[in-house]
Structures are given as structure tokens and as C-alpha cells.
Symmetry: C2
Subunit: 333 residues, 2 copies
DNA sequence: TTTCAGTCTGTGAACGCTCCCAGACGTTCC
DNA sequence: GGAACGTCTGGGAGCGTTCACAGACTGAAA
């Protein structure tokens, strides 16, 4: 790679000093129109690009943000929701010339690496994804005072880590109410992990509507994966063969539930109605297509990024943002 | 954030000079066991972490790699294959303490940003994903002499940008041969975009087996999306209503083709056999489950990263790697 | 003893930027 | 006419590293 022009070269070409070039670069006031023009021209002529390392060295700002994915390696990304979030984040951050570094936090080694990375001052902010309750990494990040926000609440840290999220609880209520309205009488649910907000709150919403009818026998837990949906459904069927509906806390698990039901010879929705959650891409491809709850994922991602940028820009504390969900009726319920 | 210890502090704590600390940090020879131990202890005591910016400033190495996703924004990540690649890349790079920055290159503005980023020296290497033929960004990157590899060949640059890929052509042959062996007589195909290696080579493999029987009338093009699979299938059915099999160049498009076939009242596989490609997660959830070609995606990703690291480490030119595919028989064919 | 090679250490000089200060210019106002 | 202020500019210092070099200390060979 050829030697790149430095701020010195630009200054020389423009006939001004480093200081002046730096001022126009950083949009400072106090630079004359003539100098401004000369510098702009010199920048274009020399093809100058500021060296972020040198800049970071003195400003202590890096111009990058790290997204931390707290899933065991084999599960990361299985959920298509990640995609939307990552895409949105990259785009919005990119507009501000902030770059996105992605790190995995699936095991202790990973988490230590994340902490070291952040402690090393390599990121201006942290974007937490699917962080589980009680994760010690969060405490460490917290103690460093680095701007951090979560996409979806961090259970137990709702008041210390700001977040944007869909209204999981109300979404679950919408679906449960719908199943009730459809005349279903024995409604079961497959929840997500109970250390995630989606796991907890979607179950709460379910219970809100059903009250005492939401008995322990009608509740099974999964871990968001398709496979876990299959086995949870199997357990439910065994315990309560006469159930006539199931609210599954994610589309992917619902896809798993569907295959178990099919294998067991139950017709969907005739014998058993199935409701999903997410309205992810799988929802349309299952057979029958899933009736589900749409989360405004792109909006959640946008808001998360907005919160983080606000935090980085040093505005005071920011408030969590909760966005409404919507029932999407297809054929499974 | 509290003031972080510098190499100076470590040197003072260990009773040696900056130089010696730097030497143990960079695993240089010529440092006495006593000094080495003292420095190690001082590092632990002070909680010292090297400042990458300062280091990069002098070494011209950044310790990060940028992955460039060349899809229009709305399509990025629709293909679940991305996930595997990203996950693998993060993991393998992480082991070497190299971090991964992800950038989108969906429009001209994006591509310019990527070029600026790389020209700015912010990455030690570039990992190209789904780059389309004739992309001017590639020429620019090439002219900068930055280590670059592609995950899947860059059409037209096969000899200048090293890559790792699945054996698309042979995979297509495997599927086509299988359809022929099953007694199918009128076999159509839905290809990917003809400026991508998967688009081109899977069609070539198809033609390899069918010879002159692969007539223009039996070929339709999609753009990897589910929707494009639906419409391509519709066009095929209209033109050749009596086709009895279709090889679709991706599972996602195959899912689209399946719904079109279902809507048209064709039974799969009885009336029409459908073969996919990728063995991505959708393959198992379609109805019926897709017979498809498994790509060793994780291996491809591993190899891509390996190539890039080799290039960065300054070994001479590296050779492309092509990995074998495998037929997975399910129910659609 | 001198010479030499090998090991180990400290130090000044970069790397490319921003920040801060001093100073040169106007103006405007008393 | 000079004080006071706002605008604009240049240059030194410093951010935290690595690198190259010089020098000190060994032990072995001449």
C-alpha cells in the first residue's frame, strides 16, 4: 500500500498549518472561508483520509460500537431476528460513520474477550443482544461506565441498561385473547427460556388473559430452537392429549411444534390451533402458515441504535422504549 | 471511565523500561526470565491492556478485518447462509484476537464508505461476501493491495481474488443426476442471478448432465429470494405445463416454488419433483421437506478465514479451495 | 589480555492526530 | 488613542505504542 497522505501533506498543499486543517476536519468554528476552501481542495487533491488510530489516541473515541451476541455458538443466528437487527444497526451507525464490530459471547472465554475489548477502549458503546439474566459480563461492562443498551431488556437490569423492545406481554395477550375468541378451551403454551424477557413476559401475557386456567400442566419451556419446540410439544401432548390450542413463544419453536403435531396426527388448525410469535420469515413457509404476532423488529433495532447514540453523545440517562405488536392471522389458528 | 494504565505504569511497577515491557508483550526474544516474570506480574497487578490505537499507529496493523456484504439492503441476510459464515468468521478470527467489522455494500454510498474505510487503513483484510460480477469496489480494493478473499468466487476475478467455495457445479450435477435416476423426463431449473458463481455454476452443472435436453424453455432465473422462486416457478408452469421435476438453485427459492406448485394443484413429489440447493434451515421446514444439496458452509467459512489470515500473514499468493457437496434426500424428490 | 559474539536493557524518535496557548489581526466602544 | 473583544492562525506538547540503536554485561575464543 502506497504511503498515505497525512494531515501535514494536506496542510502543505493548502498553504496552511496542521491546526487549520484539523479545524476544518472537525467542523470547528474560527476558520476563514478562504482557508476552508483551500483545505477542502487540498483534501480532494491529495485523497487524504484521516487516520482514526491517531485521532482515537488523543480523543479517546473510536468511532465504533460493538454488538455482543450472547448465545451459545451453535444457536447464534438460528433465530432470523438477528438479521434484521444487525442490518438495521449497521445501516444506522454507518450513516454516522460509526462502524460495527460483532463479538460472540457464548462461553466464558468469549465473554472475557468482550470485557477485554471494551476495557481496552476499543468501542464507544456496547449493543447487547439476547443477554441472559445474571450474566457477570454485564456487571463488568456496567462498572466500566461504557454506554450500553440492549435490544430487548436484560432481565434484572431493566433499570440500569436502557433498552428498546417489542411489547412482549401485550403481544402474548393479543394472541391468547384471539385463541379464546376462536372458541378454544384448553390452551397450552410453550415459552422461551425463563431468563429472557421474551420467555418471561410472553408467559405473563398468556397468564394475564387465562387467569387460573393457565395451569402448570399447560406450560412447557423451550430454548427458542426448533428442536426444543418439537420436544416441548411432545411433552404437552403426552400430558394433556385433549388440548385444542397452543401459543408458542416463537415462530421457530412453533415450526417445531407443527411437525410434532403432524407426526401425532393432529390437524392444524382443526384439532389444534397454533399461534406463534415474531412473524419471522419461517412463519410464512410453515405448513400451514403461522398465525403469529408481528414484532416491529426493524423499529426496535432503530430505537436501540438511537438510544445508544444518544448515550454516547452524552445526553443524560435515556428511557426504555417499548413498541406495539400486531396480530397476523394466517392459517394455523 | 477511570484512567487506564499505560505501558509506562507497567514498566514502573516492574522496575524495567518501556522497551522491555513491549518486548514481552510482543513475544520478542532477548528478555531475561527475571524481567519476564516481573513484567507479567506487573501486567496482572495493574490490569494493563495494550492500547491498540497506539500500536496500530506505529505498526500499521489494526487487528481487525472487515466483512463486506454486497446485497441490496432488503435482501441482506434473507439467506440463512450468511449466519453460518459470520458466526464462523467471528469465532476463528476471535481466536487470534482479530475483530470483525461488518459493512453493507448495497448501494453506491455504501461501497464508497467501504473503500474509504479500507483506504483509511482501518482493516488488515477484507472478506467479500456475495460480491456481484463487475463491482467497481472490487477493482478499488484490488488496487489498494489489501489482502482480500471471497466466500464464494467473485465472477470474473477468480484468478485475482482467492476464495473458498462449495463445488457448485458438481453439486448441481449430483441433484440433476438424481432427478434423472428417479425417472424424471422433463426437468426444469430455476437458477440464481447470472452474475453470481452459484447462479452460473449450478446452471452449468445442470446442463452438464442434461446436455441438449436442457433447453432454454426449461430455464428460469431468480434472485435467490423466496418471492423470485414463486414467480419463476409460475413462468415455468405456464410455458411447460408438463414438466415433472425442477432443480431450484437455492432452498429459499425452492420454498417459493413449492407454494406456487401447491397453488397450481401439483402434488410434490408425485407430479413434480423439487430439488433444492444449500440444505439451509428452511429445507427441513418446507412441506414436504426438501431434497437438497448440502453445502459444507461451515467448512467454506473456515477455509475463507484461513485463506485471509494466510494472506495477511504475508505468505505469498494462496490457492482457491473448493469443497465437496452432498445429496440430502428428503421428501420433495 | 584482548576480541568477539551473543544476550539483555534503556532511551530517543517516530507514528498522525487533536488540544491548547500565544499571538496577530480586525472591530467596536469608551 | 487605547482597551476590550471576537476572529483567525501557527506551532508545541502529548496521546501510548513500537522500533532502531547504543550500550552494558556475559562468556568463550584467540
Amino acid at each position: 500500500m502506497a504511503k498515505r497522505p497525512t494531515i501535514h501533506d494536506v496542510a502543505a498543499a493548502a498553504g496552511v498549518s496542521r491546526g487549520t486543517v484539523s479545524r476544518v476536519l472537525n467542523d470547528d468554528r474560527y476558520v476563514s472561508p478562504a482557508a476552508h476552501a483551500a483545505v477542502r481542495r487540498a483534501i480532494a487533491e491529495t485523497g487524504y483520509i484521516v487516520n482514526r488510530n491517531a485521532r482515537s489516541l488523543v480523543t479517546q473515541r473510536t468511532g465504533s460500537v460493538v454488538m455482543v451476541l450472547s448465545e451459545p455458538h451453535e444457536k447464534v443466528f438460528e433465530d432470523p431476528n438477528y438479521s434484521t437487527t444487525i442490518r438495521t444497526a449497521i445501516r444506522r451507525l454507518g450513516e454516522r460513520d460509526v462502524s460495527l464490530v460483532i463479538m460472540l459471547a457464548g462461553d466464558d472465554g468469549d465473554r472475557e474477550r468482550v470485557v477485554r475489548y471494551v476495557r481496552g477502549g476499543h468501542a464507544d458503546g456496547v449493543l447487547l443482544m439476547s443477554t441472559h439474566a445474571g450474566d457477570p459480563m454485564v456487571d463488568e461492562l456496567e462498572s466500566m461506565r461504557i454506554p450500553a443498551v440492549a435490544c430487548g431488556a436484560v432481565v434484572g437490569k431493566e433499570n440500569v441498561i436502557p433498552y428498546a423492545a417489542a411489547d412482549d406481554r401485550e403481544g402474548a395477550r393479543q394472541m391468547t385473547r384471539y385463541l379464546v375468541e376462536q372458541g378454544r378451551r384448553k390452551i397450552a403454551t410453550i415459552t422461551g427460556p425463563m431468563d429472557t424477557p421474551g420467555g418471561i413476559q410472553r408467559l405473563e401475557g398468556f397468564a394475564d388473559v387465562l387467569g387460573r386456567k393457565a395451569s402448570r400442566k399447560l406450560i412447557e419451556h423451550g430454548d427458542w430452537t426448533q428442536l426444543s419446540g418439537e420436544s416441548a410439544m411432545a411433552r404437552l401432548l403426552e400430558r394433556t392429549p385433549d388440548l385444542d390450542a397452543v401459543f408458542v413463544a416463537s415462530d421457530l419453536m412453533a415450526a417445531g411444534a407443527l411437525s410434532t403435531l403432524r407426526a401425532a396426527g393432529r390437524r392444524v388448525p382443526d384439532d389444534v390451533a397454533v399461534g406463534g410469535f415474531d412473524d419471522s420469515s419461517v412463519a410464512a413457509t410453515t405448513h400451514p402458515p403461522l398465525t403469529t404476532i408481528r414484532q416491529p423488529l426493524a423499529d426496535v433495532a432503530e430505537e436501540t441504535v438511537r438510544l445508544l447514540l444518544a448515550l454516547i453523545d452524552g445526553g443524560g440517562p435515556v428511557d426504555p422504549v417499548i413498541l406495539p405488536t400486531r396480530l397476523i392471522v394466517r392459517e394455523s389458528a
